[in-house]
């Protein structure tokens, strides 16, 4: 699969895969920093939110809705809908050229 015959849908698909990895990375950082940043001290010194130790509250109870919202944003604004079946004529998707053009226009005006 040479570069010049690369299916144009793959470029967008690769970008989306990287964004998913980035979201995974962000969730990890949040989880790690909250849990060990707030929770490494003496349990007697813990502060509490809603009856739970704050390290747990922020890393687990807050962390997971937060990543869901972040993900919603990423999917809503960065992911593109595309046909998944191949067009028998070209071997590529049918509406790819128009879809990518529309995508480029949208990106020009945020």
């Amino acid at each position: 699969m040479k570069k010049k015959t690369q299916d144009p849908r793959f470029a967008q698909a690769d970008k989306e895969a990287l964004l998913s990895l980035a979201a995974y990375g962000l969730y990890f950082v949040w989880w790690y920093v909250c849990a060990y940043g707030l929770g490494s001290g003496d349990p007697d010194q813990y502060s509490y939110v809603w009856g739970l130790p704050s390290w747990f509250f922020y890393s687990c109870i807050v962390g997971y809705p937060l990543i869901t919202v972040l993900l919603w944003g990423i999917v809503r604004f960065k992911f593109r809908e595309m046909p998944l079946d191949d067009d028998p004529e070209t071997g590529f998707g049918q509406d790819v050229s128009s879809a990518t053009q529309a995508a480029e226009q949208e990106e020009g005006q945020p």
């Binding site: 699969m1 299916d7 849908r9 793959f10 967008q12 698909a13 690769d14 989306e16 895969a17 964004l19 998913s20 990895l21 979201a23 995974y24 969730y27 990890f28 989880w31 849990a35 060990y36 929770g39 490494s40 349990p43 007697d44 813990y46 509490y48 809603w50 009856g51 739970l52 130790p53 390290w55 747990f56 890393s59 687990c60 109870i61 962390g63 997971y64 809705p65 990543i67 869901t68 993900l71 919603w72 999917v75 992911f79 593109r80 809908e81 595309m82 046909p83 998944l84 079946d85 191949d86 998707g93």
Partner: protein, 486 residues
């Protein structure tokens, strides 16, 4: 509390519902007549999953007995640290869908792949890769299904008081029958129902525990009195050291990309919108399930402090805290989790025999050489026989299979992870690399799991993943350039 009849009613209602869905799915199955059409329909539902069903299906195929009984049981012993560990699983749905992504969906359609093995065959054009993968899949799946059956039947026994065999027959027969009859469509539809039941179940038990413990703050205070370690991120006596917990980011994060029953979902959705919706819904639902189930296990320690075995925590909490009817609703939750894991494995094991081995090697990839009716009979038959084999094995569990199950998930990851990922994203990846990676991954994982060398708390999957990656790269570079990419 000895009113097992009330407990069993919700369970039976739920099992009957699963049957109804299978029959309905069977009628939906398109009868367009071609053999390839039948295979695509029976094993992958004609790639018709929408967002909600896709999300539920990925969650249900991933969550198993351990998410409801084993995991919360450890959380009972080790406190909030284990909930912290469990929450690493939150990104699994969006990571699987996102990283395999549309590239995977497009390539699967282009190559008409129905199973992961199909995809690997089309990508690497290698019999060695196909046979290694099919064998690994069959062996690990049989062992994993057996363990799920045993777990389910024991749980049923603990909660209802009925003998082990009754539970085994009830849900073992149900899951085998509806999978045989309804194929992939029945599997994913029951997955969706099972997902909903799991959500209801965890909410019921968490609320029950918090109420019995006198509120959240009081529960946590009681835990701290029992052992301050229960409310720290590292657990009592540093039972959950940091290198160990960080390994789980590799095991459940990266690793889930290597579980065939989960990744197959990523080639079965209807369109890109279904994938987008599933990424968000899936994350929301799996996070909720895991948080509630494990938190209930942890806080349960404040209500019933003196259990000796963590595994008993959930069944005991259910019996002590819930009315018989609600106990039945809860018990349907883990049963649902078990059945939804077993059904997808069953179907994939059957696909490995019918599609990956029979159609390819006996029919030379031309499914139209046999009439659809006999291919259909054969698929149903293969699914049924595998199911019955596992069922019979579960009556008197053979030690060997129980032992293999300990390595099933890690082993699948070691075999499938890099061939799938690098096959997708590395143009030069070739069959030599894939074979090296499969052999190195599996043997490293087995060796490390058996010898248990001191690795400072790091889980065996971390060095395994690294070794498999190196082997893949080395094999690919030595194996020469491949230009047989579909």
């Amino acid at each position: 509390m000895k009113t097992p009849l009330m407990t069993i009613i919700p369970v039976v209602v739920y099992l009957v519902l699963s049957f109804a869905v299978a029959l309905w799915a069977r009628r939906r199955t398109s009868m367009d007549g071609s053999s390839q059409g039948f295979l695509e329909d029976y094993f992958i539902g004609g790639r018709s999953m929408g967002g909600f069903v896709l999300a539920m299906s990925i969650i249900a195929s991933y969550t198993s007995a351990s998410s409801f009984v084993g995991g919360p049981g450890v959380a009972y012993s080790l406190g909030l640290s284990w909930v912290l560990l469990a929450m690493i699983q939150v990104p699994t749905t969006f990571l699987t869908l996102g990283v395999l992504g549309k590239r995977f969906a497009i390539m699967a359609r282009r190559t008409r792949s129905v199973t992961i093995t199909d995809f690997l065959r089309a990508r690497y054009q290698s019999d060695a890769v196909v046979i290694l993968c099919s064998v690994a899949l069959l062996v690990f799946f049989m062992a994993a299904m057996l363990a799920q059956f045993i777990g389910g039947a024991r749980l049923f026994q603990a909660v209802t008081g009925y003998p082990y065999m009754v539970g085994l027959v009830l849900f073992g027969i149900t899951v085998v029958l509806y999978t045989v009859v309804g194929g992939f469509r029945a599997v994913v539809l029951t997955d969706a129902i099972q997902g909903i039941i799991m959500v209801v179940a965890v909410v019921v038990v968490l609320l029950g525990v918090v109420e019995a413990g006198g509120g959240m703050a009081k529960c946590v205070a009681t835990l701290k009195e029992i052992d301050p370690g229960l409310i720290t991120p590292t657990g009592p006596d540093n039972a959950v050291p940091r290198p160990f917990i960080l390994s789980f980011w590799v095991l459940v994060g990266l690793g889930i990309l290597g579980l065939p029953q989960t990744t197959q979902r990523c080639m079965a959705y209807r369109d890109s919108r279904a994938m987008h919706d599933a990424m968000i819904m899936g994350t929301l639902i799996i996070g909720f399930l895991i948080l509630c189930a494990h938190l209930a296990g942890t806080l349960g320690r404040a209500v019933i402090p003196d259990l000796e075995v963590g595994d008993l925590a959930m069944p005991t909490l259910i019996l002590e805290l819930l009315s018989p009817f609600w106990a039945g609703v809860f018990i349907a939750g883990p049963l649902a989790a078990i059945m939804s894991t077993v059904d997808s494995m069953l179907l994939l094991a059957s696909a490995a025999i019918v599609k990956d081995l029979y159609v390819h090697y006996v029919l030379k990839d031309d499914a139209s050489r046999v009439p659809t009716a006999s291919l259909r009979k054969m698929s149903l038959f293969a699914t049924g026989v595998i199911g019955l084999l596992v069922f019979v094995a579960a009556i008197e569990p053979p030690d060997l299979l129980v032992w293999i199950n300990l390595f099933a998930f890690g082993g699948l990851e070691a075999v499938f992870l890099w061939p799938i990922i690098l096959g997708l994203y590395w143009e030069r990846a070739n069959a030599t690399g894939a074979v090296c990676s499969i052999l190195t991954g599996a043997s490293t994982f087995f060796a490390l799991s058996i010898l248990k060398p001191d690795m400072g708390g790091i889980h065996a999957i971390v060095p395994t993943t690294a070794a498999a990656l190196l082997a893949f790269a080395a094999g690919t570079l030595l194996g020469g350039r491949s230009d047989r990419i579909p």
